[in-house]
């Protein structure tokens, strides 16, 4: 009977579905059972996740491991009790001292502007950039590396962009900072200032096509119109409506709350080390 069915119709109806790789689904998040003995419901500051973003795990479900993340958070707190890791943002000017056995005084100090920051847990890192002797220099530091002796924030501020990689193609004066820069102190409780400086880029060729990156902190790029037309073709305006893409890139609110409640007992210690580092800054600036 089947042979009477025309071949095309047969294949329409009895087509095999394409082979799919079966992946385990991510179950919905279930909140931790709060222990009534310990005071878990301490009020947390609202800027916890902007000051300590590396305490949140990598959101890719394939790479998640709750036990490993918890152990890493413990190690991070232990390391923070030894070396004060200050609050900083992209655009802050920092000085980092690391142990260097080849240097004469066994340490190496570098001053620069933080141009990018990433990684989670013990592998969190940041990049510092400076121009020394007309040579652009960038050094990546791992925040929890045992080589790090001291991290200072010389000027705490934010910029208009999330990454300052375009400083590589900017005029050198925008990423030149003196190595003997004095720390600048903010008044207690003041919000972090946003530096709305507009950087001037060198003429092309560049490391990246900056006209496609929607940069806020650069002056007019001065390109011919065809570059902007091409950039317009590469825009992805639908991405802001992709709710699941947005969701897969974040840690859900409930899970963040659980993580920060877990480290809440250490919050006093974190804050005091933050304050101590500020005081040390004040002393060094006085002399």
């Amino acid at each position: 009977m089947l042979s009477a069915v025309p071949r095309r119709i047969f294949h329409t109806f009895f087509r095999k579905p394409p082979a799919q790789r079966v992946t385990a689904k991510v179950p919905p998040y279930i909140r931790d059972q709060l222990d009534s003995n310990t005071d878990n419901e301490q009020p947390l500051p609202h800027d916890f996740r902007t000051v300590y973003p590396e305490f949140l795990p990598d959101p890719r479900p394939e790479w998640r491991n709750r036990l490993r993340e918890r152990l890493e958070r413990n190690d991070m707190l232990t390391r923070r009790s030894v070396v004060a890791i200050p609050e900083f943002y992209i655009g802050s000017i920092m000085a980092v001292t690391v142990g260097d056995r080849n240097a004469s005084d066994k340490t190496n100090r570098f001053v620069g502007i933080c141009i990018s920051r990433g990684g989670t847990g013990l592998r969190a890192w940041f990049n510092l950039r400076n121009v020394i002797d007309h040579q652009g220099l960038e050094i990546m530091y791992e925040m929890y590396s045992p080589l790090i002796r001291n991290i200072e924030v010389l000027r705490l501020e934010k910029r208009l962009d999330e990454e300052l990689l375009y400083l590589r193609d900017a005029l050198p004066e925008y990423s030149t900072f003196p190595l003997d820069m004095e720390p600048e102190l903010l008044p207690e409780g003041a919000p972090v200032p946003i530096n709305d400086i507009k950087v001037k880029l060198k003429p092309r060729p560049w490391h990246e096509r900056w006209e496609r990156k929607n940069l806020q902190g650069v002056q007019d790029l001065g390109l011919p119109q065809r570059f902007y037309n091409k950039a317009k073709l590469h825009e992805k305006p639908w991405e802001k409506y992709d709710l699941m893409m947005e969701y897969r890139a974040t840690i859900p609110e409930e899970e963040q709350a659980d993580i920060f409640h877990e480290i809440a007992p250490h919050y006093q210690q974190l804050e005091s080390s933050r304050r101590q580092s500020k005081r040390r800054l004040a002393q060094t600036s006085r002399y």
């Binding site: 799919q20 992946t23 689904k25 991510v26 990018s116 639908w238 409506y241 709710l243 893409m245």
Partner: protein, 181 residues
Amino acid sequence: MNQAEIRKLIPALRVAMTPKKRRFSNPRGPEGRLFKMRTTVNELIKNERMEVNYNRADEARGYAERLISEAIRYGDCHRPTMELADFWLPEKQNVHKLFKVLVPRFKDSEISYTRVHKAPHVYPSTLFDKVVLELRGNPFPPLEKLTTKRNWIHNILLEEAHREYLEKKYKQEGEEEEEVQ
């Protein structure tokens, strides 16, 4: 950078999701894929129950859940949420339905807003898995099997017999009390 995005706080999804998005082939690319999802979400909000292929239902379900949770959290006076609803629901009566019908319905809900049931292949059909995707609390008759055994005939008879027995017993006790007095 593989650091979690921290600019927006998003409540947890109440359904399981795949770790990566499904890449539905589409001549318009990722934009076309999103338009496909939009068709399904719009139909779901409009009709509250629909039969679709499993992959598409499972993918669109996350989008519908997120849309409803955003609407519940921010309401209709929040401009970004309104833009979202405007994109996801091209039929504008559905925008009103989302904020005026679905938000009050799901406001105090602790469980997911949607359900998925396996559906049969009806001959002749393709061999893709079929499911029924529906909103909870819809006005249609339920699809799941009745788990209660209360309507079984012997249970009804037994219940009735038990009631009669109790009635008789109380009556007797009342008569006995009257006799004693």
